[in-house]
Every structure is written in C-alpha cells, then in structure tokens.
C-alpha cells in the first residue's frame, strides 16, 4: 500500500484535498440513492475505475482487499431478502422481492465506497492523505489516530507473524499449533504492543510531541485540482439526478433500428 502511494501518475499528482473532497462527495452520492436502486448506481463505478486506471494501480490487489471486507456488508444485507418479501420486479417468470433488490443495492454500494476509499489511499499515500485531512480542518486527534493506526498496523502485524513463526519452528512435528498456544501468543502480543506503544510515546515526547502532528506538505492547489474535484462532483450530481444506465440502455436499443 505504501509503495502504491509513492508511485507517480496524473492522479497521484492531484492535490490530496481535491481527492478527499471528490471521494467524500462520491460517498454521499452513493448513500443518497433510494434503497432499492441498483442499476442507477452502475455509472458511479466510473470513479473508482478512473482512479485505478489513471493511477496505474493494481486492480486485482485492490479487489482482493475489497473482498476481505465483503463479509461485513454481506452480514448487514443478508437478512433483507427474508424480511422484505414484497415482489418488486420479474426476471423471466420469477418474481424478485424488494429484499433482494435492497440486498443487491447494499452490496453494490459497499463495493463502490470501499473500492473508492482504497483507491484514494493507494493513489495519495497515507501521509499526504493525513496532511490533506488536516488542512481541510479535521481535528488533530483524528489525524493522529489515523496516522498511527496505519503505521503500527504493520509493525504489530510483523511482530505477531514473527512470534507465530518462532512458535511454529519449535512445535516440531505438529501440523497446527495447539489452541492454548494461540491464546498465549495473542496475550503476549498484546503486552508487547502495549510496551512498544509506551516506548514510542516516550520517544515522541522527547521530540517535543504535544498532541499536534505537523506535516510538511504545503502545495497550493492548482486549477487542475479544482477541476478534478468540480468535474467529479458535477458527474455525481448528474448521475444522481438522471438514471444514466437506463438512458444509455434506451439510447442503445433505439440506435440500431
């Protein structure tokens, strides 16, 4: 993820603030659609798709990350078909209930927002993202949280992996570790993480940390950045007010005849 943030592309060069605003507008637009809407959401895929394509991001890798979070959305939506049995439409002879539509709508919205958020991080880099959020007026504690959540996610993950490897190397023969071993490992990881957090905090304080993180990024936004944000917001507003998918569908079906 860090490596993606350091790449260079026209999208990477856009000011972080412009991308944050456009993405926030995107999320708002996605959320504002009526609950049974599915097809009208489709044109919005243009946004994450554009970020990924122009930003030269590995689509497969990002999709995998989206898939990791998918069970969560699945869980939120899965009861809708059971609860809402009002028939809403037909596919051939089969009546489709409203529940299925809202379920599909939740999954589509989820894929849209998560892929856009991931693409945003990947084409901006967490440090520029945080600097951007701060310049947009997000209170400092949130920025600090985000920054450190991201930074130490890896450190603690690494530490956990190292411990796991050490334990596996010494449990000769056994194919899987005993259940209790996992318990001990996790407990130990927690203690280690807390110790490390303490040491890091001391080291921050010794360099004058006072609750405020000052990041050195102060490029002024250019016309390109403004155009990026405004262009996308206009597109979202447009996609929200007219059902583009239906429009295109009608146009296509009329075209050849």
């Amino acid at each position: 993820m860090d490596d993606l943030g350091r790449m260079d592309s026209p999208i990477h060069r856009i000011d972080a603030r412009a991308k944050i605003i456009a993405t926030a507008a995107f999320v708002l637009a996605v959320m504002s659609f009526p609950r049974y809407e599915v097809s009208a959401l489709m044109p919005l895929f243009a946004y994450p798709f554009a970020l990924i394509a122009v930003g030269n991001l590995p689509a497969g890798y990002l999709l995998k990350k989206v898939a990791v979070a998918a069970p969560f959305a699945l869980f939120v939506g899965i009861f809708n078909p059971l609860l809402d049995r009002q028939p809403m439409g037909m596919i051939g002879p089969v009546a489709i209930s409203g529940g299925w539509f809202s379920f599909a709508s939740i999954m589509v919205r989820f894929t849209l927002t998560v892929s856009a958020a991931l693409a945003l991080v990947a084409c901006t880099g967490i440090h520029r993202l945080c600097a951007g959020l701060k310049m947009l007026g997000l209170p400092s504690p949130f920025v600090v949280q985000l920054l450190f959540l991201y930074r130490y996610f890896f450190v603690i993950g690494d530490e956990g992996l190292r411990m796991l490897r050490a334990a596996e190397m010494r449990s000769t023969g056994a194919r899987t570790l005993a259940f209790q071993t996992y318990g001990t490992l996790i407990g130990h990881l927690l203690v280690r993480s807390m110790d490390r957090a303490q040491r890091i905090y001391r080291s921050m304080v010794s360099r004058g940390f006072d609750g405020e993180v000052r990041l050195l990024r102060r490029e002024a936004p250019g016309w390109r950045d403004v155009a990026f944000a405004c262009g996308w917001i206009a597109f979202f507003a447009f996609a929200r007010s007219w059902d583009l998918a239906e429009f295109v569908g009608r146009w296509l079906s009329r075209g050849p005849s």
């Binding site: 860090d2 350091r6 880099g125 967490i126 440090h127 945080c130 920054l147 450190f148 991201y150 930074r151 130490y152 890896f154 450190v155 690494d158 490390r196 040491r199 890091i200 001391r202 080291s203 921050m204 304080v205 010794s206 360099r207 004058g208 940390f209 006072d210 405020e212 993180v213 000052r214 990041l215 050195l216 102060r218």
Partner: protein
Amino acid sequence: MSDPMIDITDVCFTYPDGTEALRGVSFRIGHGESVAIVGANGAGKSTLLQHLNGYLAPTRGDVRIGGQAFTRERIAEIRRSVGVVFQDPDDQLFMPTVFDDVAFGPLNLGVPPEEAERRAVASLDRVGMAHLRERPPHKLSAGEKRAVAIATVLALSPDVLVMDEPSSNLDPRGRRRLIELLATFEHTKIIASHDLELVVELCPRVIVLDGGLIVADGPTERLLSDEPLMLAHGLERPHILRHRHPH
C-alpha cells in the same frame, strides 16, 4: 561554565517488578567528552541511559544535565538538549515517511516549516540517508533504520548524544561508516556498547557497569587492557588493544 554537562549522584533505580537495575551510580561527564558505558547483558546500561533524558526518574539519587535538575518546567528543554538513540530503532521511527520522521522534532519545537525542512534534509545528508526521504521507515533495513534514527535526533541539534548499542545489527561497512560519522560529532557523547573496538576508537573514557554498580571508571586503554577486570565482568580485552600491547 564550570558545571559538568552530566552530573549523576548516587542514582538507584528499581523497576516496578522489583528488579534492582541500578544500585547507587555516580559520575560526572564534562562538555565535549566521549564516554563509553560497558558491561555484561543486564548490567543496567540501558536503564542508566534512560535516566539521562528523564524517561526514568531515579528511585533515589540525583540526575543533573548542564547543572539543571529535571523539573516540570525544564524537562522539555533538557529533552531537546539530550538526544537519545534507542537500542531498537522501531521505537523511534513512527511517522509515515523518513522525511516526516526527521522533521517531526524541529516542527514540534516551533521551527518555521522551511527551516525544519532544511534541517531535516541536512540531518539526513549527514548520515548519508537523503535518498530514503520518501520511504516508509518500517520498510528500511536495520542499518538504514539506525542511521535515520540518528538523523531524527541530530535534527534537534542536541548538546549531548546518548546512544544505546549503536553498532548492533550493522554490517562491517555500515559499522565503519557509523564510527566515522560519530567521530565527526563534537557533541558530548555517551555510548553504551558491547562493541569494544568501537569504544576504543571513539571514547577516551569508559565506565564499567556490573549488577547496577560502577566497578571501574577511567581511561579506555588502561581499563580495557586489564584482562582480569574485563573477564570478571563478562567482557574481554579487545583485539586492537592486544596488538598494541603484545605479551
């Protein structure tokens, strides 16, 4: 200024779990001196170093830096003037990029952004790591992390440089480079190390610690060539000194 840079009197420290790590340590270090602290594992070196910028407060005894005791008002100032490089650089590097990490200290001091940037670049240059400025610190090699950790401390322009095992994890070239780098610093230096050859090259004075007590304090060549003393405290006579004083 007649005050010694560092003045430690009868410092005792017991960890919360009851481990007595320091049991009455006293010494003075003058301005510009380079002093090594050596001793076996668990002798109390790291514990002692953590007293020098107020991470740990002595259970008994007194620590003074530049004649100042650690009071609530002075602690920030003392912490700026004593730069500590930890044994584990992962504890020290916490920002998303190397550059942000090095600029973190100066920016917190209220240095204007251009000046902070200049200082960060200069410190990275000094340790030869300017090419890593946009990399995330957790993806560097151990030696690179160490060099960057030193740069974060240099960016604060400290008067005293305290280092815990600076040469651990370094390859021979990295270690050589580190020694040359440290030799160019005019700061007061305190280095805890098991690397006795580094000690011989950098520090004219050494303090030998064992079981939380100072067992010897004097000129490096004399103490480190004293084979019985070295062996009694879990150390050995370094090779370069053997060549200088053949039996």
